[in-house]
């Protein structure tokens, strides 16, 4: 289109108001459809968690309340029993929990007799700090490794850098955490394991969390850079006499990193799962620790709330990414729910269809 306009040396016709509206409608329809899908998925995620915990796990709230070792007074047992409706059929309990969930009530902890929302709120800042730092570190690592794999002057080093993502995929995050604790705490005494909120300790925890997340980012960045480097416009740029450095930063960085940006949503899921392990390894407070303690004390409502909330966060971040992508890049096609769950194609989002690891793009 644009090349024809250039050849004809005519100004492109200004888009009419009608044309603009005609373009807006499909987007609104798409947005609405994605929104409905998102709500459906959140409801289903709550139901699946409930089925797993309360039906497969055979009414754990009732058994926990009936446990004489839990040290509950008869009155509080009675109060919690009526709150959760433990004597009603499972479907009623599900409805009770689900309707409360959408009103923001996450239930009451069996262990602490506090609202679950309060427990999560108290722990959330620590987890957000850790996860934010991990995200930043993984982006920096990924960018550095991808840059090195293309531009490092020695070929052998470029090869080594290319194999780093698959090494990162093979190392469990708790192993990275334990190695960092061994080095920085026990050898270098940079922090005390009993004081996990020290800055060095937080950075170590964030690195351990970041390593497995960094791997898929690296793989996508490197694959995209390879793909873009083979494009003709790079040849044109080179023949115009641009330095390789300029070609990289002016022409390659943007198209190669955009698809990686859309992976951010998947990374959120990995961050939340990883936080459970890493917070435990480093003895930190956080949502992961709340969940870990809930598992050991049989505090089912806390588990239910954390898992359902994690799914909701994941879905919402994905929704935002899907809604923003077509606005950022007009090449993106809007496709319906039938093909790959309303994914946005054309941006290499096939990776998202790939899998939940998000972690392992396979082509």
């Amino acid at each position: 289109m644009s090349s024809i306009a250039v050849l004809n040396n005519e100004p492109a016709p200004a888009p009419t108001a009608r044309g603009g509206r005609a373009k807006a409608w499909p987007y609104l329809a798409y947005a609405l459809r994605r929104l409905v899908q998102a709500v459906v998925v959140i409801v289903l995620a709550y139901i699946i968690t409930f089925l797993v915990l309360s039906v497969v796990g055979a009414n754990p709230i009732a058994s926990q309340l009936g446990n004489p070792q839990a040290g509950l007074s008869p009155s509080s047992v009675h109060k919690l029993e009526s709150y959760y409706g433990v004597n009603k059929p499972a479907i009623d309990q599900l409805w009770l929990g689900l309707s409360r969930f959408f009103r923001g009530q996450l239930g009451i902890s069996l262990e602490y007799h506090l609202p679950v929302a309060h427990l999560i709120e108290t722990a959330l800042p620590y987890t957000l700090k850790l996860a934010g730092m991990a995200l930043l570190i993984s982006l920096l690592f990924a960018a550095g490794i991808a840059y090195g794999s293309q531009r490092f002057p020695i070929k052998a080093v470029r090869g080594v850098l290319r194999s780093i993502p698959s090494l990162f995929l093979s190392v469990p995050n708790f192993v990275v955490g334990l190695i960092l604790i061994q080095i920085f705490s026990f050898r270098l005494h940079a922090f005390d394991v009993l004081n996990p909120n020290n800055l060095v300790a937080t950075i170590c925890a964030a690195v351990a969390l970041a390593i497995p997340i960094c791997a898929p980012l690296c793989e996508v960045l490197i694959a995209n850079l390879d793909n873009e480097t083979a494009q003709e416009y790079v040849l044109v740029a080179r023949s115009r006499g641009l330095s390789e450095r300029k070609i990289f930063f002016r022409h390659l960085v943007r198209p190669s990193s955009l698809p990686a940006v859309t992976m951010a949503a998947l990374i959120i899921g990995e961050l939340m799962g990883g936080a459970l392990i890493i917070e435990e390894v480093f003895g930190r407070t956080g949502v992961g620790t709340v969940m870990y303690q809930a598992v050991s004390s049989g505090d089912t409502p806390v588990l239910q709330a954390v898992v359902a909330l994690a799914a909701a966060v994941f879905v919402l971040v994905n929704l935002i990414a899907d809604l923003v992508a077509p606005l950022l890049d007009p090449r993106v096609e809007l496709i319906g729910p039938r093909s790959a769950g309303g994914l946005v194609r054309g941006l290499g989002r096939g990776f998202q269809a790939g899998n939940r690891l998000g972690t392992r793009p396979h082509r």
């Binding site: 459906v40 797993v52 334990l178 994941f314 879905v315």
Partner: protein, 282 residues
């Protein structure tokens, strides 16, 4: 890896030679490592003369040496022996996990892709939902419901991978379904079921197999992580994740963490290398 060599009717030796001829040295090394690990799982007693359970109080916390390759633990047990004997549970359960994901996810993806329409939509929403719950949290939830045991950890890991298998299988099925030979099979009077099992399934499963290998490595890591948190079989089991977890209590004996961790990393790395090679040669 029989599916690489078997389909060819030529003699096994020539096809094996062909296989090794084009194989990069790193892939060969990866296969070698996997064979050793497989042997550890099948006949652990062949690789070590020590006992994985008998305590030797005089030999506590010995650092790695010729007699004890990975050192000894807090009861004086040989750590290498513990790792070798832990292989069976760690690796076998990873196979269980992949088997569940492959069977259930593969079937769902095949059905969704082949029948389309409402079936596809319903399965698609289910898959979306399973992808929405962070994998590790879902695995923990399932283990909590089933009880703490390594087999349950494997089942949980398998269930969390159903969605991925379903997605890949669906995409492959859609690809095959649109091909000319499927159309001609219909024209020759092939029923839907005949086409499904005779044409679509055999052509769709190859890339799913490459994914299975990759998932095997992932399953080893997830099961190790669950065992590390104490959600696997309790001691005296010797799952790799549990060994690492035991070792972290003794900071003066870091080999108790490093050695089992190195085994996990090298095994998974080899599996990933093989998967990548399979994907590229397909």
């Amino acid at each position: 890896m029989s599916y690489i060599t078997l389909p060819e009717r030529s003699s096994v030796s020539s096809s094996t030679r062909k296989l090794f001829a084009g194989m990069p040295p790193t892939v060969f090394l990866a296969f070698l490592i996997i064979v050793i690990v497989a042997l550890w799982a099948i006949v652990p007693s062949l690789f070590t003369s020590h006992s994985p359970v008998t305590a030797v109080p005089l030999d506590r916390f010995e650092s790695p040496s010729a007699a004890h390759w990975f050192g000894t633990d807090y009861l004086g047990r040989d750590e290498f022996t513990r790792v070798v004997y832990g292989t069976r549970s760690s690796v076998l359960n990873a196979f269980v996990a992949v088997g569940i994901g492959l069977a259930v996810g593969g079937a769902l993806g095949l059905i969704a892709g082949f029948f389309g329409g409402l079936t596809d939509s319903v399965i698609g929403r289910g898959v979306d939902t399973m992808l929405a719950i962070p994998a590790f949290l879902l695995a923990v939830t399932i283990v909590v419901a089933l009880g703490f045991h390594t087999v349950n950890a494997a089942i949980a890991t398998g269930i969390t991978s159903i969605a991925i298998f379903a997605r890949i299988m669906r995409a492959e099925t859609l690809r095959v379904r649109q091909s000319v030979f499927v159309e001609s099979s219909y024209l020759q009077g092939g029923s839907r079921l005949f086409v499904l099992f005779r044409h679509v399934l055999p052509n769709a499963y190859r890339s799913v197999l490459a994914l299975s290998v990759l998932q095997l490595g992932y399953a080893i890591i997830v099961i190790a992580a669950l065992a590390f948190l104490g959600y696997g079989s309790p001691p005296p089991a010797a799952d790799w994740g549990l060994l690492i977890s035991d070792g972290q209590d003794y900071q003066f004996a870091p080999w108790l963490v490093y050695c089992p961790a190195a085994v996990v990393v090298i095994t998974v790395l080899s599996i990933n290398r093989i998967s990548r090679w399979l994907r590229n040669t397909n």
